[in-house]
Structure formats: structure tokens, C-alpha cells
């Protein structure tokens, strides 16, 4: 009989406890006040406590009830999707949509194993053209197209 019955609950529980501690550190300076005159720190303090408690319960449950095992993190989709989005967020204002968007489409497309270069390039061109036409020209959303200089 293994002692740890649900590694998944253990990890989630620890994350919640750490999150509660982290937010508690962030709000420790705020005035808590009383129930009658609640200070800005009142609600956050209560919530940090409650998050900590749920974390502890999950932590305890990991040793009592059998649950899920841990599964692998999917490296390729995570890196490509999140990486593409980060590149877009960093480049949009300095370099403009016409540069940032093709890069976004190309990078995120490689999160899928079957991505082919020609197909991806065509998709990038089509989506950039569509976004420029619909969102910038027609709907006039204030999005920079070209590098700001």
C-alpha cells in the first residue's frame, strides 16, 4: 500500500497553499479593519485563508483517497502556443501587425506535429490579410500596422 494515493491532488494542494502564502505576502500591509468598517485587506485576507484551507484539504486527501496519477506536460504545444503569443504581445506595438501576426501564426502552427511550411505560410498570409481588412480597415480598431518610428 503506497502512502501517497493521489499525486495529482498533492501537487494541486501544494500550489494552492503556495498561492495563498504568496497573496498573503502581497496583502499583509493592507488595513484589515473590522466587520463593521471593512478595510481593503478584509476580503483578501479571508480569501487567502480559505484558499489555504482548500489547499490543505487537497493535501490531506492526497494521502487518504486514491486519485489521478500525474501526467506529462505537453511540451511542444505549450512552448509553441504560449511562445507565439508572447512574441505577438512583445512585437505588436513596436513592429506592427503586419510583422507580428505572421510570426504568431507560424510559431503557434508548429504546436501541431503535422504542420507543413507551405500550408502554414499560406495560413499566415490569409489571416494577416483578413485581420487587416476586417479589424483595421473596416471596423477601425486602433491597431498599429507598421513599425512605429
Amino acid at each position: 500500500m503506497r502512502i501517497l494515493k493521489s499525486p495529482n491532488d498533492l501537487v494541486f494542494g501544494i500550489v494552492l497553499i503556495v498561492a495563498a502564502a504568496f497573496f498573503y505576502w502581497a496583502i499583509a500591509d493592507l488595513r484589515v479593519g473590522t466587520s463593521l468598517r471593512m478595510g481593503p485587506g478584509y476580503m483578501p485576507l479571508v480569501l487567502c485563508g480559505l484558499i489555504g484551507v482548500t489547499g490543505l484539504v487537497l493535501f490531506g486527501r492526497a494521502f487518504t483517497f486514491p486519485g489521478e496519477a500525474l501526467s506529462q506536460w505537453p511540451l511542444r504545444p505549450m512552448v509553441c502556443v504560449l511562445g507565439g503569443l508572447i512574441v505577438f504581445a512583445l512585437l505588436l506595438e513596436p513592429a506592427g501587425l503586419l510583422i507580428a501576426m505572421p510570426l504568431l501564426v507560424i510559431i503557434v502552427s508548429f504546436g501541431e506535429r503535422q504542420a507543413r511550411l507551405v500550408e502554414v505560410a499560406m495560413l499566415a498570409a490569409a489571416l494577416t490579410l483578413f485581420s487587416t481588412g476586417v479589424f483595421v480597415s473596416a471596423l477601425r480598431l486602433p491597431i498599429p500596422l507598421l513599425p512605429q518610428g
Binding site: 495529482n8 494541486f12 496583502i27 505577438f88 504542420a115 485581420s131
Partner: protein, 500 residues
């Protein structure tokens, strides 16, 4: 009562303005599209379109967004029947008998019954809404701070119980959502809370990038990690019209589904998914041949399809009359209303009757349009299902980026979306559903505000929440729900131990 119907009639004249007809059609079309496509739901879609609706008149914007929501209920069943994959979570049960009907060569009638039951439910529900709306908004006039606080607690408790996975993780999601909603400048003291000295956080986290991250980005990572086989049913769909026997069996099922669905849509935490599950269970219970369910029973399509459409519509009522969003999609609708300067709540009906009744009346129109969009044009949707996911998800991400950036013209919102995309995927891995989080995030500032007000009014006496009858009964229901859930949890544990 007669007043309500003359109001509905006035609403119809608003809904029938050319511009509103066009946006209603647009919403119904987009709704069907995202309903058909698995992996993109109404929450993410409404989040993407919110910045665009800013440039529309409020009625047109809300009519369109509502069309997306109930339109998705129509589209979802198409995928369920033809591919055996739910296009939306509310069409999970339609897979059971709908797909079996399709396999035995009756795909056409299955699609026909699904669409016609939805239409039937949609039309009847408009009248149900008309009656309930007036009553509820009159009741809301008697609500004070304590009642609102207790009602929101009930909404969150219901969200916790409805969530898949364990109650304790759902609770954690609620608390996290509430805490995240407090980031930014405190309204009553002007103090910065949890902003870590970042200027971009002083207005708090915007719910649009939050929802996109949790519901779109995280979902895409999950779909890429666990690709699903999409085998579109080959062969002809055949004639769509059901035969007389189908109609005879479906009509009572659709009626029961409508009644059950419209009631479950009104509850906090309720909505189409709950409605469709409950309707399926009901049909199976009432049937003389329950063992045949899962082999292509037409009642198993008609009941749930009627129920999901009617509960999608009635879930607007708590939002429009009490100002309480009962599910994540309604939370997005609340955001849409706030963008246009309309505070959801009992005032909508008196101050903006055009919006209120126009929106409800537009559902009559939208449902008729949806049957036309879904039945004769079924071939278009089937061919859409054949587009591979690898061409489809980069487009979703592009729209998310544009939408997130356009909220404040600030790339920081894209960063927020990325962070919650990562966090949302982690939650999925840990078997915690994001729906309670987003609901709590929307309700958070209101809960704090009403709690504060109730405490001030009662001079710091916490018994105010139980000495006022309406507030007390709302809290009592919440407590009963929690007790009931805990009880069934322990029962299950005992049974497990007994069998082990």
C-alpha cells in the same frame, strides 16, 4: 400579465428593425458555426467579439451575442449526431441516441428532430420568459444589500455543485476567482491591492483576456496534446423531415424538455448543460423501454435538445432582472452590458425597456432563422467539420489576440491572456473546472460591495443575513445544497469501502 405581452409586442417592433434583424442573423450564424466546431464555445467567442460590439448600438450588440449563445445549442447537436463528438458540452447527451440514429441511416430525421425540438422550445420559452421576467423584477425591488449578498452566495454554491470534478477543487476555483477580482484599486479606500507596483494592474484584471485564456488558449493546448479522431459520418444524410411516428414520440418529450429546461435555466448555476442532462434522465425514467436508450431513441434527442435551448434562453432572466449572471456565458453578457453602460439588474426593464423586450423578442426571430440556417444548409456545416484542426486553431488565437489587445489598446491584456492560458491548462490537468472561477471573478466586486453595505446598514451585526426572511431562505438553500452534496459524497465513499 397582459402588460407583459404588450411589452413583448413592443419588443418585437424593436427586434424587427432592419439593423437588429441583421445582427440577430449574424449572431445565429456565428453561434451555429462555433456550435458545430468542437473546441470553441460561446464564452470564448463572446469574449473575442466583445471589443467589436463596443462599436454597435447596445440592442444590436446584445441581440447578436444572445444569438451566439442559443445558436450554439443548435450547432452543437449537428456535430453530436454526425461525428459522435459534442460540439458543446450541452450536446453531450445528444451523442448517445442521436449518433446511433445516424448510424442506422436516420441522420436526417435525427437532425430534423433536434432542430425542430429546439425551435419549439425556443418559441415557448420566450413566452415563459415574458411571464417570469416581470414577476422576478418586481421581487427584485424588495431586495436589499443582504438579499443580494445571499443570492450571490447561492449562485456560487450552485456553480460549485454543478462543476465536474471534486467539490473541494471547485471551491478553490471560486475563492481564487474572488481573490483575483479584488486586484486593483479598492473602490472605497482608493488603496492599491495586489498590484505588485504594476501600473497596468491598477484597474484590475480585465475579464475578457481572463476568459480567453481560461476558455480558449487552455482548450487549444489541451486539444493539441490530446488530439481527437474526427470521423464525419459518411453516406447520405437523407431527408431531414421526421416521419409521423417520430413526431408522435418527440412532441411530448420536447414539451417535457422545454418545461424542465426553462426551469433549470432560471436557477443560479444552471444552464443548457444541466438542462440537457436532466431532460435525458427524465425521458429515460418515463420511458416504457428505458433499456432501449442509447440505441437511437428519438425521445433521447428531442428532450435534451429542447431543454438545452430553453435553458440557454431562460438563463438570461436572472441576469436581466436580478443582475446575477448564473453561468460563465451570462457573466460575459454582463460584461457586454457594462461596456454599453447598462447595469444588469431590475432597472434594465424600467430604464431600458427597448433593450430588455427587444432582446427577448429577438429570440423568437433568432430561433426561426436558426432552423433555416441549420436544416437546409446542413451540407455547409458538414463540410466545415472536415477542416483540419491545424488550420483552425491558429485563427482562434489570432482573433483572441486582436480581441484582447482591443479592450484597452494595451499589449498587457495579451500577457494576461497568456498567463491564464497557462494557468487554465494547469487547472485542467489538476481536474479543476474553470467555470466557477470566472463566475466568482465577475461576482467578486459585487459580493464585497454588498457585504460591506449590509454590514454598515446593520451596524456590523452579521445576523442581518439570517434575520431577513428572503436572505435567510437563500442561505438556507445554499446550506442545504452543500449538505446534500457532502452526504452523497460520504455515501459513495462508504459504498466504495464496502465493495473494496
Amino acid at each position: 400579465m397582459m402588460d407583459s405581452f404588450s411589452n413583448l409586442f413592443n419588443g418585437l417592433s424593436v427586434a424587427l428593425q432592419v439593423q437588429n434583424i441583421l445582427y440577430c442573423f449574424g449572431g445565429a450564424l456565428i453561434g451555429t458555426l462555433i456550435g458545430v466546431l468542437p473546441g470553441l464555445g460561446p464564452v470564448a467567442t463572446i469574449a473575442i467579439l466583445l471589443p467589436v460590439t463596443f462599436y454597435l448600438p447596445p440592442v444590436a450588440a446584445l441581440v447578436m451575442l444572445a444569438g451566439i449563445y442559443y445558436g450554439a445549442q443548435y450547432g452543437g447537436s449537428t456535430t453530436a449526431i454526425l461525428v459522435n463528438l459534442p460540439g458543446e458540452s450541452s450536446s453531450i447527451v445528444t451523442c448517445l441516441d442521436g449518433y446511433q440514429m445516424a448510424r442506422s441511416g436516420r441522420a436526417g430525421p435525427a437532425l430534423g428532430i433536434a432542430a425542430l425540438s429546439s425551435l419549439y422550445a425556443g418559441v415557448i420559452t420566450v413566452f415563459v420568459m415574458t411571464i417570469f421576467a416581470t414577476g422576478l423584477s418586481e421581487m427584485a425591488m424588495h431586495f436589499g444589500a443582504a438579499e443580494y449578498f445571499s443570492l450571490m452566495v447561492l449562485g456560487l454554491v450552485a456553480a460549485v455543485i454543478m462543476a465536474q470534478g471534486s467539490v473541494i477543487s471547485a471551491l478553490a476555483m471560486v475563492f481564487l476567482g474572488l481573490l483575483l477580482s479584488l486586484i486593483g484599486t479598492d473602490v472605497s479606500s482608493g488603496v492599491q491591492r495586489m498590484t505588485f507596483g504594476m501600473f497596468d494592474l491598477s484597474d484590475g484584471i480585465d475579464f475578457v483576456p481572463l476568459a480567453m485564456g481560461l476558455f480558449a488558449v487552455a482548450e487549444i493546448i489541451k486539444n493539441l496534446a490530446e488530439p481527437e479522431d474526427r470521423i464525419v459520418l459518411k453516406g447520405k444524410i437523407g431527408r431531414l423531415l421526421p416521419n409521423w411516428d417520430d413526431v408522435r414520440r418527440s412532441a411530448p418529450a420536447a414539451t417535457r424538455g422545454t418545461i424542465l429546461g426553462s426551469f433549470l435555466g432560471l436557477l443560479p448555476g444552471g444552464g443548457p448543460t444541466l438542462g440537457s442532462f436532466a431532460a435525458y434522465t427524465l425521458e429515460k425514467r418515463l420511458s416504457k423501454t428505458p433499456e432501449k436508450f442509447g440505441t437511437g431513441m428519438v425521445e433521447g434527442v428531442a428532450g435534451p435538445e429542447a431543454a438545452n435551448n430553453s435553458s440557454a434562453q431562460t438563463s438570461f432572466i436572472p441576469l436581466l432582472t436580478l443582475g446575477i449572471p448564473s453561468n460563465p456565458t451570462m457573466a460575459m453578457m454582463a460584461g457586454a452590458m457594462l461596456i454599453h453602460g447598462i447595469q444588469p439588474g431590475p432597472d434594465v426593464m424600467t430604464k431600458n425597456p427597448d433593450i430588455f423586450w427587444g432582446l427577448i423578442a429577438s429570440m423568437l426571430l433568432g430561433n426561426v432563422m436558426l432552423v433555416i440556417i441549420n436544416l437546409p444548409l446542413i451540407g455547409v456545416w458538414v463540410s466545415l467539420l472536415k477542416i483540419p484542426y491545424r488550420l483552425f486553431y491558429p485563427a482562434i488565437l489570432v482573433f483572441c489576440c486582436i480581441g484582447a489587445y482591443s479592450v484597452n489598446s494595451n499589449p498587457f491584456d495579451i500577457v494576461v491572456m497568456i498567463v491564464f492560458g497557462f494557468v487554465g491548462y494547469a487547472f485542467m490537468k489538476w481536474k479543476a473546472e474553470p467555470a466557477p472561477l470566472i463566475l466568482a471573478f465577475i461576482l467578486g466586486p459585487l459580493i464585497e460591495e454588498y457585504f460591506r453595505r449590509a454590514m454598515l446598514l446593520s451596524q456590523g451585526n452579521p445576523t442581518t443575513f439570517i434575520s431577513r426572511p428572503i436572505s435567510f431562505s437563500l442561505l438556507l438553500v445554499s446550506a442545504a445544497l452543500i449538505g446534500f452534496t457532502l452526504l452523497s459524497f460520504f455515501r459513495r465513499m462508504q459504498r466504495k469501502e464496502a465493495s473494496a
